[in-house]
Subunit: 226 residues, 2 copies
């Protein structure tokens, strides 16, 4: 979120804020002060304001009138709705990818798995979390339906947020081989297996959350910039 020399479009600003949320650098509930962001990005408040309305539409940010913008704190019910939606949509994504993917697409998937493995090897937890989400966004992109792709582009950052809020203290990040197994099944055109693995993967993520417990209340200022 450091100032940049090139002029940023509002979508790019929104994207950088989204990345920060996905990497848990901006925790749920934190206030996004317009002037601070304007300074950080080297633009006027006008553009920040537009970026924030965009993010609010996306659902990543909550706008309280006259009080400002805050990173969303999804309720447990929203979290359940989100996973229900993903369980509906992602099997369809898998079906479409199997039906449409060319060699180049498969190569991109392998490349992504490689990046994930690398992030795991270096222990870069933030990158691991973001890449985990982006795996599903990549799949959605390869499925070739613009609306479903856009939906997943919203649901994935929100999922990261939910994990930040409801994750058990010392849960390890999603096991890498679940992603790899899904790619394997896709490559083998084994639709049933791919869907089963995807659903299992989603249920696995959701089951490790503590959706019945109260969400984490406080922002962990000490490690915010750690």
């Amino acid at each position: 979120m450091e100032a940049s020399t090139t002029k940023l479009a509002i979508e790019q600003i929104a994207e950088r804020i989204t990345d920060a949320v996905m990497e848990h650098r901006l925790p749920p509930g934190i206030k996004l002060v317009e002037e601070k962001l304007a300074g950080a990005f080297g633009v006027s408040r006008t553009k920040i304001r537009q970026a924030l309305t965009l993010l609010a539409k996306e659902g990543l940010v909550t706008l309280h009138p006259n009080r400002g913008a805050f990173v969303k704190r999804p309720s447990a019910e929203e979290a359940r709705d989100l996973f229900a939606t993903r369980r509906l949509v992602e099997p369809e994504i898998v079906r479409n990818v199997i039906a449409r993917a060319c060699e180049q697409d498969i190569a991109r998937l392998h490349q992504h798995l490689e990046e994930e493995a690398q992030a795991r090897a270096t222990g870069d937890r933030r990158r691991i979390i973001r890449l985990s989400g982006q795996f599903h966004m990549l799949l959605a992109a390869l499925a070739g339906n613009a609306f479903i792709e856009k939906l997943m582009a919203e649901l994935c950052p929100l999922t990261c947020l939910i994990i930040a809020l409801y994750d058990a203290p010392q849960t390890p990040a999603c096991p890498e081989d679940e992603h790899r197994q899904i790619v394997d099944a896709i490559e083998n055109h084994d639709e049933a297996a791919a869907i089963r693995l995807m659903l299992h993967h989603l249920e696995h993520i959701e089951s490790e959350l503590m959706l019945d417990a109260a969400p984490k209340l406080d922002i962990h200022w000490e490690t915010l910039y750690g």
Copy 2:
């Protein structure tokens, strides 16, 4: 789109523009000049601009840098993607409504059917088109999943747009009884029938479009305000 005395929030501005699109008052491809809208709504361009970025995110408007905002002209491929998405999502909506709907919800559905019948009786074609879309939005709202509701709130106006672009010249609006039959099946908790009717309804709408022909090219200025 006339000027108003009360101060409009940007969401309300976006909503009024959406309504105008749904009622085919703003045809696909038309340019939305910021100053004109600002005058019409009695606000400054700043707010119009935010409303337009919102609508662009929603997919109802296309933003060409330095050239302005235009009501979207969805391609045939986008139209097919849209219906594919609706065929995926709306059966789930029907399932959830059957599982969750209380008497009050059913009453709202009946009330809506009544409004549709009334619009049909008075021959108010614009209102018929908008209400047809809003029937599906109402169902989505009753399904109780915020993400699916939001998705449908985007897909329905776009569907109206697609109908404006690809509809056969003298196709009558969707037969009313298809909506009524769906509500009947929901009331009877007949999930299989409700889903079958919904899919049939969607296929019916899509099949009457001329997605293989070139979209209507020009804006019909003569009847724009007719």
